[in-house]
C-alpha cells in the first residue's frame, strides 16, 4: 500500500471543480474558501497534498472556526410596525456582554477549552458544555459517551488542567410514541436514541468516577430526526495553574489512546446535514478506562509542573490540537511516530482522526524524561511526535516524506470572512390570539395531565442510572426529600472536605418559547438557570453562564434571523442580570433531508444556558421539599398571563398567547432578598416556578416532602384572575417559598418592596387543597400525583 500523500489538483481549477473536490472529500468548504485555498497554493506554485487540504478543512470547519458566529451579518428586524437594522457579529455580541460587566468573578473566558471563574482565593472552577448531536443521532451510545469523554477532556485541558468534579447532561429527543412507519430511512427510533444516549452518558461518567448530578430533558416532535445531546463538566483548578503558553522547542507529546480511523471527518461532518448515507468512520466509540487512567496521571504531571501547555485532541484531531497550540510558533510533526490501533492509515487519516481519549502536551526538554517515565509507570501512552519550532509553519512528515508544509498565518487567518443577511419579523406583543381555557373535565385532571407530560414527568428513571454521589461532594442531589421523591432545582457540590464553601449548577432550556420569540426565550433561559441556582442557596451576584446554541439550516435568512434575535436576547439579558458568559458553543445545521422524499426538517432553534454559582455555605443550601406542616407558603414574584409556549397550552393543544418575558430588575431585586433569607436560615423550602407553572411547583414540593398544603390562589399577585393563569402561567421571576410561622414576620420585612403573597400553609394530610374565590377548586392526593408524575417517562 502506498501511504504517501496524494496531490489534490486545485491550482487552475474552475469553480465547479473546486466545489466537487470539497463535496467528494467531505471537506464542507464553500466556494469562497476553496478559492482562497486555490489562490494560496497558486502563489506557492504547487497543488496541496490531501493532508494539507484536510488540515485546512478541519481548521476552517464550522465546528472549530464558528464561521457563522464570526460572520458579519446584515440584520433586519420587524416587530409590528417597528423596524430595526444593524450589522452584527454574533460572537462579538456575546463577548461584549461579558466585557461590559467586567466581573471580578471571571478568571479566563472565551480563550481556553473551558471558561474559568474564581471559586475562592486559590481555586477556580472550570466549566464547559459541549454538544455531540450528529454522532449521537447516528450511534446514540457511542455518540453520547464520547460527548461526555470529550467535555471531560475539555476541562482537563483548561488552564494546565482542572480536575473534573461534576458532569451535566441535557437532551432534546423526538416524542417517544412515534410509530416506526413515520420514521424516515436512516433515522433511529427516538426511544432507541433516548435509551442509548442515557446509557452512553451513564457508562462513561460512572466509569470515570465523576458524578452526573444536573441536567434536563425535552421531548418534541421536531427533534425526531436530529436529537440534541449536551454534555457538561465542571472541574476545579488551582488559580496558579490557569495561565499556560507553548514555549519554543517544547516537545509535542501525544498522551492517552491510540489512533485509528474512528471519527474521521467529525469536525467537517458537523457542518453538514444528516442523511442516510453517512460513513462508518465518523462514529466514535469511547473507552472511559483509558481516559480515567490518563486523567489520574495527568493531575500528578500538572502538580509536578512537567508541561507548559495542554489541550484536548477533539474535533479535527491532531490537526486542530497541534495547529492551535503551534499557531504562534510553528510545529514539526513526524506522523509515523503516532501510536496506531492498526496499520494502513494514510498520513492525513492519522492527522485528522478523532480517536478518543487523546490529549496533546507541550513539554520542555528538561522535563521530558520525567514525564515519559511517569506516564509509563501508570501504563498510559505518552509519545513524542514532534516539536514546536519558531518557523511560523506547520510541517508534517511521514517516513521522511513531507506531507504538509503550510503557513500558520494562512491556516488560522486565511479564511475569508462571511457576509450574510438575516431577517426576523413578528407581530406586535399582545397581538397573538388569546384563546381561553379549553373544555377540560376539571382542574385536578388538568394538573394530573401536565404532571404526566413527558416534559414535566419525573426523570427518576434516568437519574437513578447515574452515580451522582461518587467523590462524596454532592450536597443537594437531583432528587430531594426524605424519600428522594421530589425534584431539585440544581445540584450543590461541596468542593473541599475541610471547608463549607460550595457551588451550584443548573440550567435553563425552553425551545417552545423560542418558536414564538427567540429573544424572550433567551431571557427566560438565562433567568431560569439563575433562579435554579438561587433556589438552592447560590448567590445571584456570584454566578456565571455558558451558552449553547443549536440551530437548524442557518443558510436561510429567516432561520439565521431567529438565531440573531436569540443572540441579541442573550447579550441584553446577560448584562441586565449581571451574568457573564464564560464559555459557549454553537452547533448549527441540525437539519435532516429525507433521502426518499427530499423533505427537509430542522430542529427548533434551541438555546441551553448552563449556570454555575457560588454557594457561600453548603450547610445553608436549600431544597424544594415541604418540611413541616403549619409552615406558611409564599408565592414570590408577579404572575402575568403569559401562556404562550407553556406546558399547559401544549398539553391542551392551545395555540398563540404571549411568551413569558423576563423582567431582570424585578427578578434580581427579589432573588437578592431571597438569597439573604436563605443565608439567614429563614426559609425552609424553596422551588422555582417554571414548566407547568405554580401548580407543578406546588405538587413537586408536596411530593418531595410527603406533605399536603392549603393554597388560596386568588391571593397571588397577578395581572389576571383566570384560574389557568394563576395555576399554569409560566411567568418568570417566581418562587414558591416555605417559611415557619415564627419567621414569617421577619421574612416579610426583609422581602419588603418585592412582590410576595402568603398563599396558604403546609399541611400534614398528604392532600393539596386549592381554593379560589373562597371555594374549593380541587384537591389532589400527593401519592396519586406522585404516581402519575413518576410514570410519565417510560424507559
Amino acid at each position: 500500500m502506498n501511504r504517501r500523500a496524494l496531490e489534490i489538483s486545485v491550482v487552475g481549477a474552475c469553480d465547479g471543480t473546486l466545489l466537487e473536490i470539497s463535496e467528494k472529500n467531505l471537506l464542507a468548504l464553500n466556494l469562497g474558501e476553496m478559492k482562497a485555498i486555490r489562490d494560496y497554493f497558486s502563489k506557492a506554485g504547487r497543488n496541496p497534498t490531501d493532508c494539507e487540504i484536510e488540515t485546512i478543512a478541519q481548521t476552517w470547519s464550522e465546528h472549530c472556526c464558528h464561521k457563522i458566529f464570526r460572520a458579519e451579518i446584515e440584520y433586519e428586524e420587524k416587530i409590528g410596525e417597528q423596524c430595526h437594522r444593524e450589522k452584527i457579529t454574533l460572537l462579538k455580541e456575546i463577548k461584549r456582554a461579558t466585557e461590559k460587566m467586567n466581573s471580578g468573578l471571571c478568571v479566563s473566558v472565551f480563550k481556553d477549552n473551558a471558561g474559568i471563574i474564581r471559586f475562592d482565593d486559590s481555586h477556580g472552577l472550570a466549566f464547559k458544555v459541549e454538544t455531540h448531536n450528529h454522532p449521537s443521532a447516528l450511534e446514540p451510545y457511542g455518540g453520547a459517551g464520547t460527548g461526555t469523554g470529550g467535555v471531560i477532556r475539555d476541562v482537563l485541558g483548561a488552564g494546565k488542567g482542572a480536575r473534573p468534579v461534576l458532569n451535566t447532561d441535557v437532551f432534546c429527543f423526538g416524542v417517544q410514541d412515534v410509530s416506526y412507519e413515520e420514521l424516515p430511512k436512516g433515522v433511529l427510533h427516538p426511544r432507541r436514541i433516548f435509551r442509548g444516549v442515557v446509557s452512553g452518558v451513564r457508562d462513561y461518567g460512572n466509569r470515570m468516577g465523576i458524578p452526573t448530578a444536573s441536567g434536563a430533558i425535552v421531548f418534541d416532535r421536531e427533534y425526531q430526526n436530529n436529537s440534541l445531546v449536551f454534555c457538561g463538566t465542571v472541574g476545579v483548578i488551582p488559580l496558579a495553574q490557569v495561565e499556560k503558553s507553548v514555549e519554543q522547542n517544547d516537545f509535542i507529546v501525544l498522551i492517552g489512546g491510540k489512533t485509528g480511523r474512528d471519527g474521521i471527518h467529525g469536525a467537517t461532518f458537523s457542518s453538514i446535514s444528516l442523511d442516510a448515507s453517512i460513513s462508518t468512520s465518523v462514529v466514535q466509540i469511547g473507552n472511559p478506562i483509558v481516559e480515567k487512567k490518563m486523567m489520574d496521571v495527568l493531575m500528578t504531571a500538572r502538580d509536578e509542573g512537567l508541561y507548559n501547555f495542554i489541550t484536548d485532541c477533539g474535533a479535527g484531531g491532531l490537526s486542530s490540537a497541534v495547529g492551535e497550540m503551534g499557531s504562534d510558533t510553528g510545529a514539526i510533526v513526524n506522523l509515523e511516530k503516532v501510536p496506531l490501533k492498526y496499520e494502513q492509515l494514510y498520513p492525513w487519516e492519522i492527522w485528522i482522526s478523532e480517536s478518543q481519549e487523546r490529549m496533546v502536551l507541550s513539554v520542555p526538554e528538561r522535563k521530558i524524561k520525567r514525564l515519559l517515565d511517569l506516564f509509563a509507570s501508570e501504563d498510559v501512552e505518552a509519545t513524542v511526535i514532534g516539536r514546536f519550532v519558531k518557523t511560523g509553519r506547520l510541517k508534517l512528515s511521514y517516513e521522511n516524506d513531507v506531507v504538509c508544509d503550510i503557513d500558520m498565518d494562512f491556516l488560522h487567518k486565511g479564511i475569508p470572512k462571511q457576509r450574510l443577511s438575516a431577517q426576523f419579523s413578528a407581530g406586535r406583543k399582545g397581538a397573538a390570539e388569546r384563546r381561553r381555557v379549553p373544555k377540560i373535565t376539571g382542574w385536578k385532571e388538568a394538573v394530573l395531565k401536565i404532571l404526566a407530560s413527558p416534559n414535566v414527568a419525573s426523570r427518576e428513571t434516568v437519574i437513578r442510572q447515574y452515580d451522582h454521589e461518587v467523590q462524596a461532594r454532592t450536597v443537594v442531589k437531583p432528587l430531594t426529600g426524605m424519600e428522594g421523591k421530589g425534584p431539585s432545582d440544581a445540584a450543590v457540590m461541596k468542593l473541599f472536605y475541610d471547608g463549607y464553601r460550595g457551588f451550584a449548577v443548573g440550567c435553563g432550556l425552553n425551545p417552545f418559547y423560542g418558536k414564538i420569540d427567540p429573544y424572550h426565550m433567551a431571557g427566560c433561559c438565562i433567568e431560569e438557570a439563575l433562579r435554579n441556582l438561587v433556589a438552592v442557596g447560590a448567590d445571584p451576584c456570584q454566578a456565571a453562564i455558558l451558552d449553547n446554541f443549536c440551530w437548524g439550516d442557518v443558510n436561510g435568512k429567516k432561520e439565521l434571523g431567529t438565531l440573531v434575535r436569540c443572540v441579541r436576547g442573550c447579550r441584553d439579558f446577560a448584562v441586565q442580570y449581571g451574568l457573564p458568559f464564560i464559555s459557549g458553543k454553537d452547533s448549527l445545521n441540525n437539519f435532516f433531508i429525507d433521502e426518499e422524499t427530499g423533505v427537509k426538517t430542522s430542529i427548533p432553534g434551541t438555546l441551553l444556558i448552563s449556570a454555575v454559582g457560588i454557594v457561600p455555605d453548603v450547610r445553608l443550601s436549600m431544597t424544594s421539599d415541604f418540611k413541616e406542616s403549619g409552615n406558611f407558603l409564599y408565592v414570590c414574584g408577579k404572575t402575568r398571563r403569559e401562556m404562550g409556549g407553556s406546558e399547559y397550552n401544549r398539553v391542551f393543544g392551545i395555540s398563540g398567547g404571549d411568551v413569558p418575558e423576563a423582567v431582570p430588575p424585578e427578578a434580581m431585586f427579589l432573588m437578592k432578598k431571597l438569597h439573604f433569607c436563605i443565608g439567614g436560615g429563614i426559609i425552609k423550602a424553596c422551588h422555582d416556578c417554571s414548566d407547568g407553572g405554580l401548580a407543578v411547583a406546588l405538587m413537586e414540593m408536596a411530593m418531595g416532602g410527603g406533605r399536603g398544603a392549603e393554597v388560596f390562589i386568588d391571593r397571588i399577585v397577578s395581572d389576571d384572575v383566570a384560574v389557568e393563569t394563576l395555576l399554569f402561567s409560566e411567568s418568570q421571576g417566581r418562587f414558591v417559598v416555605e417559611v415557619d410561622a415564627e419567621s414569617a414576620g421577619r421574612f416579610e420585612k426583609i422581602m419588603g418592596g418585592a412582590v410576595i403573597a402568603n398563599v396558604g400553609r403546609v399541611s400534614d394530610d398528604r392532600e393539596v387543597w386549592v381554593f379560589h374565590g373562597g371555594e374549593k377548586l380541587f384537591s389532589l392526593d400527593v401519592e396519586e400525583a406522585g404516581n402519575v408524575w413518576r410514570s410519565g417517562l417510560q424507559w
Binding site: 447516528l138 450511534e139 457511542g142 416506526y180 433511529l188 427510533h189 426511544r191 432507541r192 485509528g260 480511523r261 474512528d262 453517512i278 462508518t280 468512520s281 462514529v283 466514535q284 466509540i285 469511547g286 473507552n287 478506562i289 483509558v290 490501533k341 480517536s355 478518543q356
Partner: protein, 158 residues
C-alpha cells in the same frame, strides 16, 4: 477462529434480554416468547482449547453469576431458538476487545492475539424471516457500526 460465549447462569435473570424483548414488542412484532443474550468473544491466533478455557475461566467469566461455553456448544444446547450474532464492523473501535488483550497480557496467558467482541441473541417464538430481519435492523443492530449474522434459524419458516 475460536469462540467463547459467556451468558448468565440459569438462576440469574437476563435483564438485558427482557429489555430487548420489550423493544421488539414496541416494533409491533408480537410472537417473541423469550430473548436470551450472551457475550461472544472471537479469538484469532489461538487454537488450543485448553488455552481458550483458561482465558474464559480466568478473564471473561464471572463464575458466580455466569457460565461460559467454547465453540458453538451453547447454540447446540438451545436448539429451539433463532440465534443472531452482532459484531462491530471492521475499523470500529472495540474497547472491550482491547481490554481483553491487555488482561491476557497482564495475566501472562498470551500476547499477539486478536480478539473481537459481540453479542449473541437467542430469540424464541413464532417469527417469520421478515420478523427476524426487522428485529435485527430495528432493535439489535446499528448498521452504521455493526453487522449481524444469522447463526441458527428456528420458527415459522423452518
Amino acid at each position: 477462529m475460536n469462540i467463547v460465549e459467556v451468558c448468565n447462569k440459569k438462576t440469574v435473570p437476563d435483564v438485558f434480554g427482557q429489555e430487548i424483548r420489550g423493544n421488539i414488542r414496541e416494533t409491533g412484532i408480537g410472537g417473541i416468547e423469550e430473548v436470551l443474550t450472551s457475550e461472544v468473544y472471537r479469538f484469532e491466533g489461538i487454537s488450543s482449547r485448553d488455552e481458550l478455557t483458561r482465558i474464559a475461566g480466568e478473564i471473561l467469566v464471572d463464575a458466580v453469576a455466569q457460565d461460559y461455553f467454547t465453540g458453538d456448544s451453547n447454540v447446540e444446547r438451545r436448539n429451539g431458538y433463532t440465534v443472531v450474532d452482532v459484531f462491530y464492523r471492521k475499523g470500529v473501535t472495540d474497547a472491550v476487545s482491547d481490554t481483553v488483550v491487555i488482561a491476557m497480557r497482564d495475566a501472562g496467558i498470551r500476547t499477539g492475539v486478536s480478539v473481537s467482541t459481540g453479542r449473541r441473541y437467542y430469540l424464541k417464538g413464532n417469527i417469520t424471516d421478515g420478523d427476524v430481519r426487522t428485529i435485527c435492523e430495528k432493535v439489535l443492530v446499528n448498521p452504521l457500526i455493526q453487522e449481524y449474522a444469522l447463526v441458527q434459524r428456528k420458527g415459522k419458516n423452518e
